[in-house]
């Protein structure tokens, strides 16, 4: 006789064609374990109750069963059953019609009322747990924060450049004396009118005695126009806000470091939080990054160059944003591609481990990468000899070559950020 097996959050039940329950195994009664087991049913994994029920049926000499999903059938077949998949079969529908009574009859709950109280608690807890999981996509926070940092960089550069021109009407010499944007902005923000630019004040702002003397000297002899406070004040306001943005940038990068350590410890160990967050941002999330092959990770951020290469049959880029990795941009050209490939391979592993297990193997990955880089540096210490007969292009270009700027410009740029 064929037996129908039906899954329920209270356990696994077996019914015959006459709709009698012939065997059952209840699931855990504690809410926590109950939810965990039920989530297994949802994911198509066998629950402990289902496996035990199969054993019971075996002991009863039952061989032929019907289940509702392929996954259930697979598990049963592996245990030697002749399992058929019959989704929404009449017996399963009958079971669902009378499930509350069956749960009472088999002793899982005392009354129908208890059953629905439990169902209420169970569905709310299950939903809450799923919501929590959905909300914990913190990798996306890091991705957004790194984009904010890039926006701030653009903005501060723009503001600093504007301020240099504006404040130069008053004190042109400062432009050459202070090359660092943030220092320049700080002087304007904190001191303003060049009468305030004294050695003492500059030292208070953290400049060296020597540098401060130079600046103060220039301020005294400046050939810029002398404006009243009224005209300096607007420049100072812009400078103060720009200074705030520099501070915000630092806070954001601390924040990213913290989030990255939690969501992607292995990637962080390999390339640091900022580059790591940038990779996640380009991939669209940790999950997406985890599913990428190393070859894709290697050129993330250099899509423009990659697609141009594909179109024209030219050389593909050696690296995307991972160009920012010190061992790549500090190495000689001919080593970069090899190092980029090694790093991308390790990153692909790191992303997978971060996404699927969260275990920490970052130190091992880093060590292996360091060895490989040393090897590359040893074996390829000298630049390759130029091949003389190299009369390219070997591959025929599918489209006429691009006009305008030569493709060569991409080299060493690491794509776009």
């Amino acid at each position: 006789m064929k037996i129908y097996v039906v899954q329920h959050f209270t356990g696994s039940y077996a019914l015959n064609e006459n709709k009698d329950v012939v065997a059952f195994v209840h699931g855990p009664k504690g809410l926590d374990d109950m939810v965990e087991e039920a989530l297994k049913i949802e994911r198509g994994e066998p629950t402990a109750a289902y496996l035990r029920l199969l054993e019971k049926l075996k002991e009863m000499g039952i061989n032929e069963i019907a289940v509702e999903t392929n996954e259930e059938a697979k598990t049963a077949t592996a245990k030697g059953f002749d399992a058929k998949v019959e989704p929404a079969n009449p017996i399963a529908r009958y079971f669902r019609e009378h499930v509350a009574e069956i749960a009472v009859d088999t002793g899982f709950v005392k009354s129908i009322e208890d059953f629905y109280n439990l169902l209420h608690e169970f569905t709310i807890e299950t939903t809450r747990r799923k919501l929590r999981r959905a909300a914990q996509k913190r990798d996306l926070l890091a991705a957004q924060a790194i984009r904010a940092i890039d926006d701030i960089d653009k903005t501060t550069n723009l503001f600093a450049a504007r301020l240099r021109e504006w404040y130069s009407l008053h004190f042109p010499e400062l432009d050459d004396l202070v090359r660092e944007h943030e220092d320049y902005v700080r002087i304007v923000a904190e001191l303003g009118h060049r009468d305030n630019i004294t050695v003492e004040n500059l030292v208070k702002l953290g400049f060296s005695e020597e540098k401060a003397k130079k600046i103060a000297e220039a301020a005294k002899k400046s050939m810029g126009a002398d404006y009243p406070e009224f005209d300096i004040e607007p420049m100072q306001r812009l400078a103060r806000i720009t200074l705030e943005l520099y501070k915000l940038r630092r806070d954001l990068s601390d924040y990213i470091a913290q989030v990255m350590k939690e969501v992607a410890p292995n990637i962080t160990a390999l390339v640091g939080p900022l580059l790591g967050a940038r990779l996640i941002s380009l991939a669209g999330g940790l999950e997406e990054l985890a599913f990428m092959p190393a070859s894709t990770i290697q050129v993330l951020g250099a899509e423009k160059a990659l697609f141009r290469a594909l179109r024209t049959g030219g050389k593909p880029p050696k690296h995307g944003v991972i160009f920012q990795y010190p061992d790549i941009h500090r190495s000689p050209r001919w080593q970069r591609g090899k190092i980029a490939r090694a790093l991308a391979a390790k990153l692909a592993i790191a992303a997978k481990v971060d996404y699927f297990t969260g275990r920490f193997i970052g130190d091992k990955l880093k060590e292996a990468l360091r060895k490989r880089i040393e090897e590359i540096k040893r074996i390829y210490a000298k630049p390759p000899k130029r091949k003389k007969e190299e009369v390219k292009p070997a591959k025929p270009a599918k489209r006429p070559p691009r006009r305008g700027r030569r493709g060569g410009k991409r080299k060493g740029r690491g794509g776009r950020r």
Partner: protein, 234 residues
């Protein structure tokens, strides 16, 4: 504004008509969670009863009733599978109508709306939240029981097929389906009437008999409510 009179709707059981001072009337249901609002609706006290205003511009089911749907199949004590529950506006009224003996399985895929829906379910013991995809009924077959009716507001191109799949798993024979069709989310390029015809054909092929269909203008543009019965042939 004061309530002048309250009476039960002569055609739809469980639905009330509230007459206000200025002569206008409103649909309402008896609040299952007294004192609590779900979407900022007005509450009316009438003797022992607390009624919740049922806004036809917010709820397509209310609109369908005002447009004269043949009957309201949802009744006290019924079990309902509600696909596309969103934040719980209409489901809460369904929960009012079926009462504590009834059950509402309120399903939605979007985590964003589910946050609010869970809060509604917490105050209503007859409502069960499900954060699931209506396209995969096998992923909640271990939770939902056989139901008297399915209410669907899923706004998906293949919605008729989705409800039919759910009916196979969970809908009683002769059970009912209320399907809100938003023509514009199925195919913007087609005439709404064509879209409705197509959806109805799919339902018929999958074992539904159409009882009634009403257009929801002026409450919702290019929307219709289909009322059907499930008669699967064996």
């Amino acid at each position: 504004m004061e309530v002048v009179n309250v009476k039960e709707h002569e055609k739809y059981k469980g639905v009330y008509i509230v007459e206000l001072e200025d002569g206008s009337t409103r649909l309402a249901t008896v609040n299952l969670a007294p004192g609590k609002r779900v979407y900022g609706e007005r509450l009316f006290k009438w003797g022992e009863l607390e009624l919740r205003e049922w806004n036809p511009y917010r709820s397509k089911l209310a609109a369908a009733l005002l447009k004269g749907l043949e009957e309201l199949p949802i009744q006290r004590g019924h079990r309902i599978l509600y696909l596309g529950a969103a934040t719980g506006t209409t489901p809460s009224h369904v929960s009012d109508i079926v009462g504590l003996e009834g059950k509402v399985y309120a399903l939605d895929v979007a985590p964003r709306v589910m946050r609010e829906l869970v809060a509604v379910c917490e105050t209503r013991p007859n409502m069960f939240p499900l954060l699931n995809d209506a396209r995969k009924p096998y992923e909640y077959r271990h939770i939902v029981e056989l139901v008297d009716g399915i209410y669907a507001d899923v706004a998906q191109p293949e919605q008729a097929a989705i409800v039919a799949d759910n009916a196979d798993y969970f809908l009683k024979e002769n059970g009912y389906l209320l399907l809100a069709i938003k023509a514009r989310s199925i195919d913007v390029t087609k005439e709404p009437s064509e879209v409705f015809k197509h959806e109805i054909n799919v339902l018929k092929e999958r074992g539904f008999e159409i009882v009634d269909m009403v257009h929801l203008e002026p409450f919702d543009k290019d929307h219709a409510m289909v009322y059907a019965r499930y008669r699967p042939q064996k």
